[in-house]
Amino acid sequence: DAGVTQSPTHLIKTRGQHVTLRCSPISGHKSVSWYQQVLGQGPQFIFQYYEKEERGRGNFPDRFSARQFPNYSSELNVNALLLGDSALYLCASSLRRGEQSDFGPGTRLTVL
């Protein structure tokens, strides 16, 4: 069975640009969450989507947005990139909210 997949693997952008990251959950998983992990820290919660609705939002500015599609895949959008947005962005899926989450390999975003 395919695990959680994310694209792209790596991305280099410049300040002020916009980025879209994509995530496909494990088949049958309806909950998708996004996390930001900067070097030396644990992942920080950004968003959670369940059944295509936003169910939770972490302490991130409005430059961060996301959505979930009918096939349960998800996109994370970040506008007006700052140097501090450089991080590993992880997507996690679970069958239902609150259950074991399986993580994708992440997208390494570098903002120059």
């Binding site: 644990g42 992942p43 169910r55 939002r57 972490g58 609150g98 074991q100 989450s101 994708g104 390999p105």
Partner: protein
Amino acid sequence: EDKVVQSPLSLVVHEGDTVTLNCSYEVTNFRSLLWYKQEKKAPTFLFMLTSSGIEKKSGRLSSILDKKELFSILNITATQTGDSAVYLCAVVPGSGGSNYKLTFGKGTLLTVNP
């Protein structure tokens, strides 16, 4: 705000040693505690603990939760170089308007030398 503190932050041992990693937490309406191993990118799931005092075991790894004292430990016996990784602890709050988000600690970087 939910909080997870892991200790030690880093640890260097020799192959064959036994290690104990610690995780203490504060969470509103506790639902579960999860342990993950992160080697390069994706954290991989190790254990989910919901009940106090019940040990979860998988090979050389085991974990137990103490809901009264609000902590969990992850034990690794007979360590191997392949155990070198960051070990992450996360808590999940319960229902009641919560979004079931995972709150992670900073992780423990374990290095196992041959």
